[in-house]
Each structure stands twice: as structure tokens, then as C-alpha cells.
Symmetry: C2
Subunit: 143 residues, 2 copies
DNA sequence: GTTGGTGCAAACGCTTTGCATCCAT
DNA sequence: ATGGATGCAAAGCGTTTGCACCAAC
């Protein structure tokens, strides 16, 4: 996180994109949030830092960040517009259904499964989408 | 599928719901489709059988069918309003990104993973959402 | 005969778009 | 300086809702 400022800037520049305060704000908000956020919530938080930010900018920014692979879109039942920072390696979200917090787990059993599916059905698996839901340690604890 | 007509009817009645031609039409369309369908596509097909069917009915019907667990909502990238018949046992969809066809695979490695996650993090996994994407045998074949 | 279901059309709300302005480079 | 990014407001469009009528029970 320390040298992130510079590398992010380069990251944008290398792709012919500008590094704007709005984009940095969205990134920093997602980075600091343990749970996925809705577009509305992201907008609300960005406006605390940059009060004039329009909702359209949030939409445009998130689209770019998802394209860049920095941010992940999370689908949960009816809720299809939630976003989290993309984990660095290959990981999957572990979403707490109580508090909405998101952990990650790196272990991925899908490679093996994919292999077997290809052998059995001829279907070649190219990607997978996995999300786990449950209760985090705190939310399990009696209050 | 033979004695389905009667059991479906009872299925609705047992829940205080009526068994209408529109609901049966949606079910039969989903049953006969190997791939998931969008709301618009379902509407189009229902109208071939019942020309006066309104779009609102499709929305209302799908919501009920999903609640009943008969139908599954599929999320694929930006497309969040696609529906397939729910597989009977515990299965996961295998979606072909070319033709949209959906196969199922019953093998589920998640139980083991869930166990290990609980041991390592204290997070208790209650459910999981898994979708695989790739190319089915036909779509891999050279044309 | 009841009551839930349907069709229609209007309302709604989220998302996208056009355009003038601004600012990162 | 200049082209991409932003803010604003309007347009667009998928989804939901209200209500009168209809049909399953």
C-alpha cells in the first residue's frame, strides 16, 4: 500500500488513461472496505471526499476498474451491482451474510474438477465463478 | 416427465397457488431449453403458445418459480436475468460461452473446502454459488 | 362465488448518453 | 495546449405496480 500511489498512476498511464482524484477515491474506498459495496454506497463515500462527484462518474469509473481487473463485480441473489477489490492471486470471496464482510480464500479446487469434467464430458472449462456465503467468526458469536 | 402434469399441479396447490397455463408454459419452455434463457426470450416463446401473455406475467411467474426452487437464476457477467430449470440434486451449471447451452455436473468439491475453511478461519460456510464457463464439445469442433 | 392471476399501461428507478467544461498530462 | 474525464441533466429502458377483468378452484 505504501508505494501504491505511484504504481497505480503508472498503471493508468500505461493504458492511456488518466489518473484522476475520482478514480483514486473509488479505489481507496474499495481498498478500505472489508465488504463489497453497492454503487450508491460507493457514490456516497466518494462524495465525502469529493463532494461534487456525479453518479455517472462512479458508473464509468467502476466499468473501467473492472475491465482493468482491479475490481470485481459480485453477484448475490438479486443484488448484481456490488463491487470489491479484486484479490491479487487467484482467490474467491467468502461473503458473510450477516455483516457483508468479505474474506478471501486462495484454495481453489476447481482445477481438478475442470480436468475431470473435460475428460468425462468433452466440455472444456475456461473459467469459473465461485462465491461462498456463510457467517464470519464475529457474527457467529453470541452478542 | 410423464406424470409431471399432475404433480406440478399439486405442487402449486399445496402452496396455495393456482396452476395457470402461463405458469405451465414458462415451465415447459425452460424444461425444453438446453440453455438458460433471458426474460425477453422466455416472453417471446410463451407468446407463441399464449399470444396475449404480458411481460409482467413473465416477471411475476419467474419470481415465484425461483422462490419455489423450481427455477434457477443464472448470472453471467453483465447478464443477470437468465433462467434455467433447477437441477434436481445438488448440481452446478456448466455454461457454454459460445452457444449458451447449459450442462450440469453433480460433483461438488465444496464440502471439503468448506470444512477446511471453517477450521482455518472460523468462517462457517453455509452455501456456495458455483458456475463454470467454457466451450461445449460442439462449439470446440472446427466448423 | 371467491380469490388469486393476468393484461394493460402508467410509474418508477437505475443506468446510459450528450455535451459543455475542466483538468491531468 | 489538448484530449480524455467530469458534472449535469435529459433520455432510455428494463422492471415494478395499480387496477379492472378473468379464470382456476
Amino acid at each position: 500500500m505504501a508505494a501504491k500511489g505511484k504504481s497505480i498512476k503508472e498503471f493508468f498511464h500505461n493504458r492511456g488513461l488518466k489518473c484522476t482524484p475520482q478514480r483514486l477515491a473509488v479505489l481507496s474506498i474499495l481498498e478500505e472496505s472489508p465488504k463489497h459495496l453497492s454503487i450508491q454506497e460507493i457514490h456516497r463515500r466518494v462524495k465525502k471526499i469529493l463532494p461534487d462527484t456525479g453518479l455517472a462518474t462512479i458508473y464509468r469509473t467502476l466499468e473501467i476498474l473492472v475491465d482493468l481487473g482491479l475490481v470485481l463485480r459480485v453477484h448475490q441473489g438479486d443484488e448484481c451491482q456490488n463491487y470489491v477489490m479484486a484479490p491479487l492471486g487467484h482467490q474467491h470471496p467468502l461473503v458473510c451474510t450477516d455483516c457483508g464482510k468479505v474474506l478471501d480464500f486462495a484454495e481453489c479446487p476447481m482445477e481438478d474438477v475442470a480436468q475431470r469434467i473435460t475428460e468425462q464430458t468433452g466440455f472444456s472449462v475456461e473459467k469459473h465463478f465461485v462465491q461462498l456465503f456463510g457467517k464470519c467468526r464475529q457474527c457467529q458469536a453470541p452478542l
